[in-house]
Amino acid sequence: MDNGTVSDKGGGGNGDKAQKLALKVLHVEDDADAAADLTMLLAGEGCHIVWVPLGAEGLRRAALEDFDAIVLDRMLPDMNGLDVVKRLRETGIGAPVLMLSALARASNKVEGLEAGVDDYLGKPYEADELLARVRALVRRASGHTHNAIIIHGQFECHVKARTAFRSNKHIPLSPKEFELFRYFMENAGEVVTREMLLRDVWKIDFDPQTNVVDVNIGRLRRKLEQGFDAPALETIWGTGYRLTRGE
């Protein structure tokens, strides 16, 4: 294994529970109640929240201060959230943007992503879903992905060779199962929601009526757990899944 191509996503044996976020987040939202809910949620995770109710004020604060992430409403009183994100990108502000909007149809999400937002979550949202999205957003922005070999606890993902191992035992996976496994490895220790999996693994921006995600996760789980006692994937009820360390 070459230095620099291996990453251990386990974080030095801190267990499987997600760590506190401790981020500085700009929240642009005109609904004071919604803003208070989000502030309470993120503050509970150790984040420092700066709330502004207008798009113009959000642009001004983003230009003056560094933020780890921006949570942006779409229908603001003074301007459209899509215009806000375009202006942010035009002025060279690269902080990852999560659009949190009541406009959450698949077409709305496509518009948002095309405008430059990094992720899009519809209201009403699950608290765990939002936290998972913010974590994934910040992690992606920090560039902790695309290693040749990713290690998390007992699991190894050889990205280029497209092979999976648990405790040095090869786990045969189909191409799509490998993509799922790799996604979990890249988000190891974090909650991965169904919507994230649909969007990033299957490129689908809506939730089909059939339990397709659960079934495909079930198949991957069986392969990862075959011959081992410890579970590989933990179900976070109502939200999604989290890869364990397998120990």
């Binding site: 959450a104 698949a106 689908i204 809506f206 495909n216």
Partner: protein, 437 residues
């Protein structure tokens, strides 16, 4: 221009005909007058006097420009006087007249008579000047016709260029509207039929664009104004659940939260249907899409769910079927058809996902099918089946599939099948031979 040319041709024909008639009349008069005078000379002065007069007149050209030609000759061929080398093909005994060609190649109008048993006389006038006059007349008419054609071509080209520029303004505006760009028939057009067409097009485009903006704005407003209070309600439920003692029954509140999500999903589906229906015929946003690859991916995604339900999902997909479409909408269409089949097909059943060149997309199953009385209503909103339905569905999946097909210039139909349900999506033109139920 055609009318002018036809008129000119008719005028030319009439003029030529009249000129030829006048020319022949003048020749006849000239020849007959001269002949009568020479006959008088012969009667009064005898043969020698006639010979002198013929010699005097030979070589003269009349005031009208016609050269006089004579031949006084014995029947045995002895020439007594005149300026014609040999006797032409006219019978003097019969007193024949007509146009003849002389031995020097000149065409003349001539009259031959027998003055005595041993004396024949030919009097003729050349028609060369008449022929030249006719040629000049023809040239004048041809030149006039050429000028008319040239002027017509220049005027036509200018008119066509002007028309093309004016129509292009309208076409550009329609193209811009087709591609979803801001548009308008901005140039000032004269008040004629094209101007009226431009005005009507401009107003229609403006109205369509305004309707599209209003529709979109209304959809966004409705979604926002319904989702926002539902979001607050959901947060209050979460807060209430957090305040409950650990051993409390959370199920009722959790069901309330699920109901909220169900209402939101229904709202989204209705707005998606409205958005797709509002974009029928709109080509903007359509891109080349590999329908085969998309169907294969979705088939693999649904394979596990089918397996778990004890259903065989069979993929029969012709490779590289390319369509112009919106990827996410086709994902939705295929997903809705597969969701619908998986909901109704019992354990042990089979579902087929078929893609063919055309493009043709089919989802066929061997489940209980759709009751005959429901078949005409199957694509209606809020229409749910009576069998195998758990009540969770809003009956919008097939309505949305239909709206998506229409937005792509296609049509979805429920076709006759021996067993189960058989949905087919294909372009309108391909439905001409097989009518859907």
């Amino acid at each position: 221009m055609l009318f002018a040319l036809v008129t000119l041709s008719l005028l030319f024909a009439v003029t030529v005909s009249e000129t030829q008639r006048n020319s022949q009349g003048a020749l006849t008069v000239s020849v007959e007058t001269d002949l009568a005078a020479l006959v008088d000379v012969y009667v009064s002065g005898g043969e020698s006097e006639l010979i002198d007069r013929v010699r005097d007149r030979s070589g003269l050209t009349g005031p009208e420009g016609r050269q006089a030609r004579y031949l006084l000759m014995r029947p045995d061929g002895i020439v007594l006087a005149g300026n014609v080398g040999s006797w032409p093909t006219l019978n003097p005994q019969a007193g024949q007249t007509g146009f003849v060609e002389l031995d020097d190649g000149t065409t003349v109008y001539a009259h031959a008579i027998r003055l005595a048993d041993d004396l024949n006389l030919l009097v003729a006038r050349s028609s060369e000047s008449d022929r030249v006059a006719l040629m000049r007349l023809t040239f004048i008419f041809m030149a006039t016709a050429a000028n008319i054609i040239l002027a017509g071509w220049l005027l036509g080209r200018r008119a066509a260029e002007t028309m093309r520029e004016r129509v292009e303004v309208i076409s550009a505006a329609l193209r811009a509207a087709e591609e979803g760009r801001e548009t308008g028939v901005t140039s000032h057009q004269p008040a004629d039929e094209i101007g009226e067409l431009a005005d009507l097009s401009g107003r229609t485009i403006t109205r369509a664009a305004s309707l599209a903006r209003t529709h979109r704005h209304m959809s966004d407003q409705i979604a926002h104004e319904i989702r926002t209070p539902l979001t607050r309600l959901d947060r209050r439920l979460v807060t209430a659940m957090a305040d409950l003692p650990r051993d409390a029954d959370y199920d009722a509140l959790e069901r309330c939260r699920q109901d909220i999500r169900s209402v939101v999903a229904m709202l989204d589906s209705l707005l998606d249907i409205a958005a797709s229906e509002g974009r029928v015929g709109d080509r903007s946003g359509l891109q080349e899409l590999d329908l085969s690859a998309l169907a294969t991916d979705l088939g693999e995604l649904y394979e596990g769910s089918a397996d778990e339900a004890g259903i065989t999902l069979r993929l029969d997909i012709e490779p590289h079927v390319i369509i112009m479409g919106e990827r996410m909408q086709f994902v939705r269409l295929i997903s809705n058809l597969l969701d619908n089949a998986l909901k109704h097909v019992p354990e042990g059943g089979q579902i087929e996902l078929i893609v063919r060149e055309g493009p043709v997309l089919e989802v066929r199953d061997n489940g209980p099918g759709i009751e005959p009385e429901l078949r005409p209503l199957v694509f209606d909103r809020f229409r749910t089946g009576t069998k195998s339905d758990d009540g969770a569905s809003h009956g919008l999946g097939l309505a949305l599939a239909q709206a998506i097909a229409l937005r792509h210039d296609m049509k979805i139909g429920l076709v006759e099948a021996e067993k189960g349900a058989h949905f087919v999506v294909k372009p309108h033109v391909m439905w001409s031979t097989a009518a859907p139920a």
